[in-house]
Amino acid sequence: MIKFDSVTYVYPTGVRALSGISVEIGKGELVALMGENGAGKTTFIKHLNGLLKPTSGRVYVDGKDTRSLSVAQLSRKVGIVFQNAEDMFFLPTVEEEVAFSLRNLGFDEGTVRRRVDWALRFMELEAYRNRSPFLLSGGEKKRLALAIILAWNPQVVAMDEPTVGQDSVQKEKLKEMVRQMVLQGRTVIISTHDVEFVAELRPRVILMSKGRIVADGRAEDILTDAGLLEGCSLLMPQVAATMSRLRDLGFDAKVISVEDAVKSIVERLRAVEHTRGS
C-alpha cells in the first residue's frame, strides 16, 4: 500500500529529516512509528499524502509515485490527523465541520449526508452534531478530527502523536477506534512515543532515530530491547521493564502485556513450587 524507496528529505533550512528510508507497509497493517522527538516521524507522515515530496528517492501510495499526484488526489487515499488538528476547526457546528471537506472533495449532497452520519456515529459524536467544536473536550476534539478524515473513507489513516495530552479514558477509546479501523481493512499508521499505548495495541513497530529506521519488527521484540529503545529516548513499557529484572529466574522476558506477564509468572512459580514439593 505504501512504499518508501531510499527516501531522503532535506528541509529548506538544510535540516536533513529523513536519510535513506526504505520500507513497505501492506494493506490492513497496523504500524506504530516510534522514536525520539525530532526523529523524523512527522516528516515521514507528511510524505504519505504528498504534503512533502522526497528530496531524493520515491514514495509510492497504492503503486503510484506521489510526485505525480496532488495532495487533494492523495488525500482521498490517505487521511492524516495531525497533532493539533483541532486547532483548525472553524465552523459553527460539529456536523458542518465534517461535511465541509466532503463538499470540497466534490461529493453530492446525498453522499455527504450519509458519510457525515456514518462518521459521527462511528466516532460516537452523534449527540454533539449541532454543538460548536470549540465546546468539545480534548478527547472529543481528537475524535472529531478523526471523524473528518474517516468521512472521506481513506484506505490509509495516519495519526501524529494522538495520545499527547489525552487521559486514560480517552486513550482507551482511541485504542478501540484504531482496532475497529484495522478490522475495516484500513492501514493505520500511528506516530507516537507513548510506549504503554503501543504495548497495549501490539502493532508492527518501526523505530526511527535521527532520520533513519533503526529497527522494524513485532512490538514484543522491539519494546523489550532496552538498549535499542534508550538510543531513541524511549523506555521499555513497565511490564517489560519488570519482566527483564526477573530474566535470571527463567521468566519470559519478551512480554509486554499484563495478562501475558501474569500467566508467565504464575506458571513459572507453580513449576518451582512443584519441584520443591516433590
Partner: protein, 284 residues
C-alpha cells in the same frame, strides 16, 4: 506545618455556568510530595491556578471558600509576593522561556524582584546545578530539546527558592527518557531541599513510587486522597479515567492464583523484590 490549606473552594470561570471546582478541601503539609490525578477537565489545572494566585488575580470568575498558601491568604496577597513562595512549571516549557541564554532566563524573575547582583549569581548557579544543566548556561533556550527546556523552566522557578512548587503536566510533550529525567529532577529537589511539591501528571508509572500521597479529582471534586498504595489498589479507579501503574495490575493478577504479594508494588523494583521474597520463603 501546613503549606497549603484549601477550605470549601468553589470556582466557576466567568461565562461558564458549571463550576470547575466544587467544594474542595485540601491540606498539604510542608515537605509533602503530592500527585494530583484525574481525567482532562476534572479541575486539576484550575486548582493549581488557585494555589499560585493566577485565580482570582488573573482569571475572572465566581469564587467561594478560602485558599491559604505558606500562611498567606491567596486572594488578598499580590502575585509578586506569592511568586516568592509558590512556583509553577507549566506543560509547555516554550511558553515560559524567552531570553537569549539559559542563564538570563533563570535570572529573570530574580532581577524583577530587585535582588542584588551577587545574590542573583549565587542563586542562578545553585538552580542550574540543582537541575543538572550547568553545561547549558550560555546556550539559547530555543535550541534545546523539550526535556532540557523543561529543566530550564524548573531552574528558573527553583532560583526563587519557593517553599511550594506546582507542576501542571510537566512531561506531557516529552519523550519517555526526557520525561523520566524531569520527574527524577523534581523528586531530587524534594529530597534535597524539602520543597513541598504538587504535580498534576498522567504518567503514574514514573511517579507512583516517589510521591507521598495521591489526590484524585473528578468533576471538580476530590474523590480519593491517600497513600499511593491505598489509592492505586482500588479497582474502581478505572472508570474515572485514573491510570494505574502496570505493576499494580500485574501483582493483583498474580495474587488471584498465588498469594505472592502482601502489599501492592509501585515499581518494577518492588515487584521484583516481592517475587524473589516469595521464592526465598519457598526454599526455607
Amino acid at each position: 506545618m501546613e503549606i497549603v490549606r484549601v477550605e470549601g473552594l468553589t470556582f466557576a470561570y466567568s461565562g461558564s455556568e458549571a463550576p470547575a471546582l466544587r467544594g474542595i478541601n485540601l491540606v498539604v503539609e510542608e515537605g509533602e510530595f503530592v500527585l494530583l490525578l484525574g481525567p482532562s477537565g476534572c479541575g486539576k489545572s484550575t486548582l493549581l491556578r488557585c494555589l499560585n494566585g493566577l485565580i482570582p488575580h488573573f482569571y475572572a470568575g465566581r469564587m467561594e471558600g478560602r485558599v491559604v498558601v505558606a500562611g498567606m491568604e491567596v486572594s488578598k496577597t499580590p502575585t509578586y509576593v506569592l511568586s516568592q513562595h509558590v512556583g509553577m512549571v507549566f506543560q509547555n516549557p516554550e511558553n515560559q522561556l524567552f531570553s537569549l541564554t539559559v542563564e538570563n532566563d533563570v535570572a529573570f524573575a530574580l532581577e524583577n524582584l530587585g535582588m542584588p547582583r551577587e545574590e542573583i549569581k549565587r542563586r542562578v548557579d545553585f538552580a542550574l546545578r540543582a537541575v543538572g544543566i550547568e553545561g547549558l548556561r550560555r546556550r539559547s533556550p530555543f535550541e534545546l530539546s523539550g526535556g532540557q527546556q523543561q529543566k530550564v523552566a524548573i531552574a528558573s522557578v527553583l532560583a526563587l527558592m519557593p517553599k511550594l512548587m506546582l507542576f501542571d503536566e510537566p512531561t506531557s510533550s516529552l519523550d519517555p527518557l526526557s520525561a523520566k529525567s524531569v520527574i527524577d529532577t523534581i523528586s531530587r529537589i524534594r529530597k534535597e531541599f524539602g520543597t513541598s511539591i504538587v504535580v498534576a501528571e498522567h504518567r503514574v508509572e514514573l511517579l507512583a513510587d516517589k510521591v507521598d500521597r495521591v489526590v484524585v479529582m473528578h468533576d471538580g471534586r476530590v474523590i480519593r486522597d491517600g497513600r499511593p498504595r491505598e489509592v492505586f489498589v482500588q479497582e474502581e479507579m478505572k472508570p474515572y479515567g485514573i491510570p494505574v501503574p502496570k505493576v499494580v495490575s500485574m501483582a493483583k493478577g498474580v495474587n488471584k492464583s498465588l498469594m505472592v504479594f502482601n502489599e501492592v508494588p509501585l515499581s518494577p523494583e518492588e515487584f521484583e523484590r516481592g517475587i524473589r521474597g516469595f521464592l526465598l520463603d519457598k526454599v526455607r
